[in-house]
């Protein structure tokens, strides 16, 4: 049955989108050879475009791709034939070729195991998110590099190095035992959140690659919650990402200028996404074991109360930040807590809380610290100090829209000035 090329391309893209990571994980689970699995799969997708156009789309495209990718991997193994690669290659032939020949067999979903391998403690934390984006979603190194602001060559090199480490060091493709699961799942969730925040750093959605990364982060979050439905932190992370994504449309005004959370128009928020986040958070809270992501999602929940009451629940937000500080000790959380205190109990008290952080070297070059400080200094009438703090914040900001917003706030100080 002949099919037109567009139809075939669409079908291949659909399989790639939904199954890429599943196929990579399945191919690499025993050999731990991610690069080899990716190469074989790329060959299989190329072959699919020709074969499916001529013969029609197979009933089980995943099984078709696996069977072809496996043959390609075996051919590549024969060509290499170094003693290192021959053993796993031969084992793969004997153990699994028979299974894959059965086109009716569903492909086992090893994506979680693959993610745990990518976020293994023996893998450098900064490469875990890129590794997951590449192996689960099939992003190329150049796309990942641009989102993470490093050169494509560097990113490519680091990805190759990480894949070699997985193979040579014998990092297992496995969901860890219960005793290690908490910490190890935390690393997986952190990697997903890193991918999401890289995407969210472009709140205007001008850079489509970045916007895409936020959506992919949510997609990965959904995948993990589907495969591990009883992990409250996974639910918390998905809720957190949905709350944030729901506000995307409100983070820029018509002129493309940055709009901070407190000035956003709640009618521009995505209600369906917020409702889904609220339901997820509720489900997670029923499971006990409250962690970082549930708490951060709870902060978001206390903000979206504004949809009904017109005001964020700042007292609740302050309490949640207390819990988060106890959990993480993060100075970034402490800044947000000071802002919550200022809203709940007045700018002077907020400033006192912020002053307690002044000695922390990690904050000296952190824009939000200086912006928060400037805002609270202005509210307490310390105009000159506020002006200096805004200058510092502006100098540290990399996003033009946020910089413009800070410059606007700084210029407004003159109206408040007694001179």
């Amino acid at each position: 049955m002949p099919r037109d090329g567009d139809h075939v391309r669409e079908a291949a893209e659909r399989v790639a989108r939904n199954s890429y990571g599943k196929l990579v994980a399945f191919l690499a689970a025993r050999t731990r050879d991610l690069a080899g699995a990716e190469d074989a799969l790329a060959d299989a997708f190329a072959a699919a475009l020709t074969d499916w156009t001529a013969n029609g789309i197979p009933r089980n495209p995943e099984a078709w791709l696996i069977a072809v990718a496996r043959r390609k991997a075996i051919d590549a193994g024969r060509r290499r034939r170094s003693s290192e690669s021959a053993v796993p290659e031969l084992r793969m032939i004997s153990e699994e070729l028979a299974e894959a020949a059965d086109a009716n067999m569903p492909i086992k979903d090893d994506r979680l195991s693959l993610m745990f391998a990518c976020a293994h403690p023996a893998i450098d934390p900064s490469i875990r998110a890129p590794l997951i984006l590449q192996t689960i979603l099939g992003f190329d190194a150049a796309a990942i590099a641009s989102a993470f602001l490093v050169s494509p060559a560097t990113m490519s090199q680091r990805l190759v190095r990480a894949k070699n480490k997985i193979r040579q060091a014998g990092i297992p493709f496995r969901v860890p035992e219960r005793t290690d699961l908490g910490e190890r799942l935390g690393a997986v969730l952190d990697s997903i959140y890193a991918a999401f925040t890289e995407g969210w750093c472009d709140p205007g959605g001008i850079d489509s690659r970045r916007r895409n990364l936020a959506e992919e982060g949510i997609w990965l979050g959904r995948m993990v919650t589907a495969l591990m439905p009883d992990e409250p932190e996974a639910l918390g992370l998905l809720a957190l990402m949905l709350y944030a994504e729901a506000r995307r449309g409100a983070r820029r005004n018509d002129g493309g200028e940055y709009v901070p959370l407190e000035d956003q128009n709640p009618s521009l928020w995505d209600n369906a996404m917020i409702d889904e986040a609220e339901a997820l958070l509720l489900r997670a809270s029923g499971m006990g074991d409250t962690g970082r992501y549930q708490l951060e999602a709870a902060v978001q929940s206390a903000h979206v109360v504004r949809r009904r009451s017109g005001r964020s629940d700042w007292a609740a937000i302050e309490r949640i930040y207390d819990l988060l500080i106890a959990l993480t000790g993060s100075p970034v959380v402490a800044i947000n807590r000071a802002i919550a205190i200022a809203e709940a109990r007045g700018a002077a008290e907020g400033l006192t809380a912020l002053d307690e952080l002044a000695g922390d070297q990690r904050l000296a070059e952190y824009q939000p610290y200086w912006a928060a400080r400037a805002g609270l200094l202005a509210k307490t009438g310390q105009i000159d100090l506020a002006d200096q703090a805004y200058e510092q914040a502006i100098g540290l900001e990399s996003d033009a829209a946020v910089r413009g917003f800070l410059q606007q706030r700084r210029s407004e100080l003159k109206r408040l000035s007694p001179h």
């Binding site: 290192e84 293994h120 403690p121 023996a122 014998g170 990092i171 297992p172 496995r174």
Partner: protein, 115 residues
């Protein structure tokens, strides 16, 4: 897979411990080695004499140079090793974490490159 667990530690500190502490350490290593044997993972193990007994050899321009002492001076020195056979890195890391030396120094875990 086979892994070499390389035990690095501060040699000077180790040599200055009391007799009681040294005995306790030896007993801990004895128990650790026994546990590895029972689990069927131990391939080989040895303790090394201090770096003061080390000699380093290099051949440059056809001339053999022998130096008194270790290849590189560092804060922690190689003091011994275990060669183990386990299914994967996670298993190797958990054995490394049980090594008495991990509490004082560093256990470097290296996969064996099968030739």
């Amino acid at each position: 897979m086979q892994y070499l667990l390389l035990i690095y530690g501060n040699e000077a500190g180790m040599l200055n411990t009391s007799k009681a502490q040294a005995e306790q350490m030896m007993a801990a290593y004895g128990a650790y080695t026994e546990a590895m044997k029972k689990a069927g993972v131990l391939v080989g193990a040895n303790r090394l004499r201090p770096t003061s007994s080390a000699s380093s050899v290099r051949v440059a321009d056809g001339k053999t140079k022998v130096l008194d002492g270790p290849y590189a001076e560092s804060r922690e020195q190689l003091g011994g090793y275990y060669l183990i056979d386990v299914p994967d890195l996670d298993a190797a890391l958990s054995w490394a974490a049980r090594c008495p030396g991990a509490n004082h120094g560093t256990i470097e875990v290296r996969p064996i490159w099968v030739m």
